[in-house]
Point group: C2
Chain length 341, copies 2
DNA sequence: AATTTATTCTAAAACGTTTTCGTTTTTTAG
DNA sequence: CTAAAAAACGAAAACGTTTTAGAATAAATT
């Protein structure tokens, strides 16, 4: 491995000059800069990030923290898409991405914050996680630049999907298609779920729809088993809904299975809608009606704002960034207006 | 940030002793070790990976290289699952994972090898990529420990899915269900595809099935559009197949759409099968018959062997590790034996 | 008690950078 | 042509570790 020392020797200049030439500092002549750079290429020199990080306290390395509870994590469609976009964005700015080790099984394990400091991460994006975890709080309260995804902390940059608008759009669309008996199987207790539930009720009220208590059920996200059973319960009601909303697209398929098992058809006999807009939803029949979250934008904005915070901490305004989703109409919500005629 | 210097001062010992105590070296007494460790906790000391890496040339950091061409990458189900398992495994051994920057758009961009060296990565896993890329070859030919996934290089550890057995199992199953007219829409030209095609032909020959040339088509992986059109072509044949195999599950749904658009039913009128065993395939009806690749094992074995290579380079035997998949029968291949009776 | 041996510790160099501050060289002004 | 100012360069310290070689202390052997 050729170092600056070797390069300096080959150029007959000092190490300091080499460093400055490579970093395009002002106090070295254009001629020497050129010469050093040429020689660097020639010798195949490239810097050592560890040494650089040690000296500058900047690693050009951004961490991503997420906990892959039960089959989630990287294989979680929403998160994978956000991460993909995030990665693409920071790479353009010449950062690398490290997934911070969140295995708590290891013996001498550090906290998230300790690990971030240990690795000298310039910033951390936090997603898909239990935001009430004390270790997460510790990290968020630290001096390390942080952006949270789909959760808002005070004094921290957050990028969140507009679940309020999303749910409103969805319910409104379903309403416009003539539905008045709308059930909602929501996900487990997170701020995302809370936003959606609250928006669901608000919108229903505004539209003058009454929601019976037993139209509201709970299942975990991506839990097809759960939605299967909750759907059965809904179908068993004396006055069943004409449309069921699910926690997410994936879970929605569990519901569809239940419906079909009862000999009912989607959407002819009962309408359904998911949430997320996963890719496969647009490629299988019937095309699932859903709110397509703009994962590309979420990932990109998280990255851009985190980098801004890292590079210009003072001039970055701290506020939540809300990214709107988009209604994908699909074909699982039937227009039942004619029937009413 | 409290460093070893501070810790040494607080303990009234030298920096060297602190270092050794923390690293559990033999030439420091149990008493001092205990004392140093206690004090370290007290002061909230933890090491600086950059300094450590600089000194030891070991980063405890493993890189993953993959190129996310067109919608693939992280959102690619197969790869995401492999990566997830890979990550979990290395975390248990206290490594971190960095996704190596493969953006070629950046101006002063380095080659993959340069970037790996720059970051001081202890090893690199390579997947989902064009293995003929000169930069990939350069990396593979370097002295950095490398494991390739689903591709075999000479003198390098590789973990590959057993596509030969997988395809054989699949074709044999379809054969046993009575099918003799089997079409295969294969993916684009990669070693994986080659293995599958070759195994397809071999198995057919062994079973005494003749495969007309126009039963073999090509579409890109995960390309529902492509499989849609190829399927239409197959259905237009004067003697259409009774079963169609697809490049992967995702693409298979494109085929199913085409079939249904023709007013045909799966599997009553025509049987289909995918490849991969993506999660959703088991949760929607009809359940797609497929070969479930053991992504958990692939990721884990890649990680374990890479770490072995890093930590014990001499005693690690270099050979391809073949991971078998498993036939998932699903419900998209109809048993047509009775018809023949 | 003197020597050897084993144990525990430390000083100092090194890893590859960046950066401060001082020195030398070149340019400009008078 | 000299003096002052500006530009270009270099010496050396520092970042936080690990490691080598040797020093000091304690224990064991004659």
């Amino acid at each position: 491995m050729v170092s600056m020392k070797d390069l300096a020797a080959a150029c007959n200049v000092s190490i300091a000059t080499v460093s400055k030439a490579l970093n395009d500092q002002h106090d070295v002549s254009a001629k020497t800069k050129e010469m050093v750079r040429k020689k660097a290429k020639e010798l195949g020199y490239f810097p050592n990030s560890a040494a650089k990080a040690l000296k500058t306290n900047r690693s050009h390395n951004i961490g991503v923290l997420f906990v892959d509870e039960a089959q989630s994590g990287l294989t979680h469609d929403f998160f994978a898409n956000v991460l993909d976009s995030f990665k693409r964005t920071i790479e353009l700015r010449d950062y690398d991405l490290t997934l911070v080790n969140c295995s708590k099984t290891h013996s001498g394990s550090m906290t998230y914050l300790e690990r971030a400091r240990y690795r000298g991460l310039d910033g951390v994006a936090i997603a898909c996680i239990d935001f009430r975890d004390p270790e997460v709080i510790e990290l968020v309260d630290s001096s390390i630049p942080v952006v949270t995804i789909d959760y808002i902390f005070n004094n921290r940059i957050a990028v969140i999907s507009d679940n309020v608008k999303g749910m409103r759009d969805l319910v409104t669309y379903v309403y416009e298609m003539g539905h008045r008996k709308i059930a909602y199987i929501h996900g487990n207790d997170t701020s995302v779920t809370q936003a959606r539930i609250s928006s669901f009720y608000t919108t229903c009220t505004q539209l003058g729809i009454e929601v019976p208590e037993d139209y509201i059920k709970r299942a975990d996200y991506r839990d097809t088993e759960g939605t299967y059973h909750r759907t059965m319960e809904l179908l068993d009601l004396s006055d069943p809904p004409t449309c069921i909303l699910y926690p997410d697209d994936f879970a929605g398929f569990g519901g569809i299975n239940a419906i079909r098992e009862r000999g009912l058809r989607v959407p002819e006999d009962i309408s359904v809608a998911g949430y997320d807009g996963i890719r496969i939803g647009r490629h299988i029949e019937p095309k699932l009606t859903t709110i397509r979250q703009d994962t590309e934008s979420i990932g990109r904005q998280a990255a851009e704002n985190l980098i801004k915070l890292i590079e210009h901490p003072r001039s970055t305004i701290i506020r939540p960034i809300v990214v709107e989703g988009e209604l994908y109409k699909g074909s699982t919500v039937k227009d039942i207006n004619r029937i009413a005629e």
